[in-house]
């Protein structure tokens, strides 16, 4: 039956498709809630009033809609359009539930507020950059390109550190891990290794550093803050031992360079790495059993243990994850920046943890969102960028970043106490 709905769906009419999806969800959820507000949607302008029944019939047939709401009892809704209906205008569709109560709680647990804040800040900055284009060069292409290249390097590290923080542990060694694994990779490529093999080796080093952090922390039962503070020094020294204090230049072309630092349009490869990792990590945390275990061991290790979750194994995974992602960020940075400086990236741990805190990841573990971590990284970069553009001296940057992290942690603490979040 080529009903109006089918035609509309075929034409990609988004509102109708959305309505159909919402109807499908509703039939699976806990049942209709009579009298609830309907989904606000637009009636396609080109559809006449008489097409209403046609759409409803096809919705009913496609989705086997069993129940109607109170106002429009009978399957499939009313045969004619409700009064007040005008083509092309917003209106309530009483058949479809407004955002369900489940979705409302899930939204509250997402980084929605931070997303809104981030977008507002961006809009404000772009407007300011356009108005005072000479004194505040936010919108010039060089600034945007630098941002797109720099945010992923912090963001990828932050996602790794954030997953570890969700599990209730910290990693301060991501900075020296970042340098050590990338410098070993660069040296191996210099010795004639295939770049891909060398990069895998670099990732393995990162994973190994994470594993060691985890083993030390869990075996000796010391706070990971102390463990990784110690291993920071060890791997920084290891860098000097295998390489010396001179900078390693790293010039590479070919498929490896394209994959790590090429561009599609204005978007650098790092951006896609971060997006891919963010989606994968989101799936891990929110949709996978292991993610559930990570939240559980971070939120209440005793309770997790009592239900049979292996706290050690779960935390060990998180340590390895953080180490691997730090190494990946180092490898991506190596091809982008073309030099690796031993002794660099000392503020990376602070920035990565700061990005997570700004993104709403709990310092005591048990909660956090990937979106928040990525947005936190972007916001941290934004602060630095704005300060630089306004001509603030470089040494003030760290102070601002530090202050921002403290303020964010305090605000989240207050919000948690008042049960806003």
């Amino acid at each position: 039956m080529t009903s109006a709905l089918c035609r509309l769906v075929a034409r990609g009419e988004r509102t109708v498709r959305f309505a159909a999806q919402a109807l499908a969800k509703r039939t699976c959820a806990s049942g209709p809630r009579p009298g609830r507000k309907g989904l606000i949607w637009t009636w396609p302008r080109f559809m006449g009033k008489n097409d209403w029944g046609d759409v409803m019939t096809s919705v009913k047939e496609q989705l086997v809609l069993g129940e109607g709401s109170e106002a429009h009892s009978g399957a499939g809704g009313p045969a004619t359009a409700p009064s007040g209906f005008l083509p092309g205008r917003f209106m309530h569709l009483p058949l479809v539930r407004h955002i369900s109560v489940h979705q409302r709680y899930r939204l509250r647990q997402s980084a929605l507020d931070l997303t809104v804040l981030f977008l507002l800040i961006q809009v404000g900055s772009v407007v300011a950059g356009s108005v005072w284009s000479t004194s505040f060069a936010y919108t010039i292409s060089a600034n945007i390109l630098t941002a797109l290249e720099a945010i992923p390097l912090l963001g990828i590290t932050a996602i790794g550190v954030g997953v570890l923080m969700v599990a209730g542990e910290f990693d301060l060694s991501v900075g020296s891990n970042f340098i050590f694994s990338s410098i070993v990779m660069a040296m191996l490529i210099g010795q004639g290794w295939d770049p891909f093999v060398a990069a895998l080796f670099g990732l393995a080093i990162g994973a190994g550093i994470g594993l060691l952090n985890g083993l030390i922390t869990l075996w000796l039962r010391i706070p990971s803050l102390i463990t990784t503070l110690g291993t920071t020094g060890i791997w920084a020294a290891a860098t000097l031992f295998v390489h010396g204090a001179a900078s390693q230049t790293f010039n590479l072309s070919g498929p490896f360079a394209t994959l790590t630092s090429g561009t599609i349009g204005v978007f650098p490869a790092e951006m896609f790495w971060m997006l891919g990792l963010a989606v994968a990590t989101w799936a891990l945390l929110q949709r996978h059993r292991l993610g559930n275990h990570l939240f559980a061991v971070g939120g209440n290790a005793k309770a997790a243990n009592a239900t049979g979750i292996s706290v050690r194994r779960t935390k060990l995974f998180a340590f390895v994850f953080a180490g691997t992602l730090a190494a990946l960020a180092g490898i991506l940075a190596a091809t982008r920046v073309a030099t690796i400086t031993p002794g660099g990236e000392t503020d990376l741990p602070l920035q990565a943890i700061g990005a997570c805190v700004i993104g709403g990841t709990a310092l005591m573990g048990g909660s956090g969102t990937v979106l928040g971590m990525a947005l936190g990284a972007a916001l941290l970069y934004w602060i630095e960028d704005v300060l630089l553009l306004l001509g603030a001296p470089g040494f003030y940057l760290d102070a601002f970043v530090g202050a921002l992290i403290i303020v964010a942690a305090a605000l989240y603490g207050v919000a948690k106490q008042r049960r806003v979040l």
């Binding site: 647990q109 996978h288 559930n292 559980a296 939120g299 209440n300 309770a303 009592a306 979750i309 048990g366």
Partner: protein, 252 residues
Amino acid sequence: MTPEASEANGPVLLDLRDISKAYGGSPALDKVSLTVRGGEVVGLLGDNGAGKSTLVGVISGVVQPDSGSLRWEGKQVSMRSRIESAELGIETIFQDSALVRSMSVSRNMFMGRELVGRFGFLKQRAMRDASTEILGTVVGIRGVDSPERLVGGLSGGQQQAVAIARAVYFKRKLLILDEPTSALAARATAALFEYIASLRKDGLSSILVTHDLYDAYQICDRFVILERGQVALNATRDELALDELIRIVCRG
């Protein structure tokens, strides 16, 4: 014979014989024997330091007794962790280590026992629907409108009810509730005890460690009072009036 008492005459579920445990020479438990039958609610009372926590630890597998035997459904068993006791069907609900506050009710329900599809990915909808169903059946849990709510946002009584509902869902046979009402208001306590009592008809037994004598008296079939590591009293409710119980506990 009251209906409660006849219900409590199920087969023997847990049988402790002469359990002793000493910490560094000072005895915490001294030849304690305790029997719990199917569908029975046992009130475990006693002063601080009387050995209640140690006894709860022994039954939940956390504490290893120095001597004595532990029989579960007629078979000699030894448990070395809470996980092993859970495998037998014993669930211990401690106030602060039952649930993860930063996780949703649904995630807590299936914590460690997630319903998963291919590659370990969660069956979100199945877990949510099951949680919704469980929440709908629980007496003391009204007001939890969605399994997506964070446990930390629930009241103390609701949290206890969620923990108990989880044990019921996973077909536990014996619940050990350690001071379940110490942080609850009177109304929540009554609701929670009503819920615990309602589980009896499904054959679920409970050991209730509590100070709430008045409320406990309404639902317990039997009272065991510990005193300096020994069983000072083991009596069914029929044999013991509330005044008498209070007098014994207060004298204790």
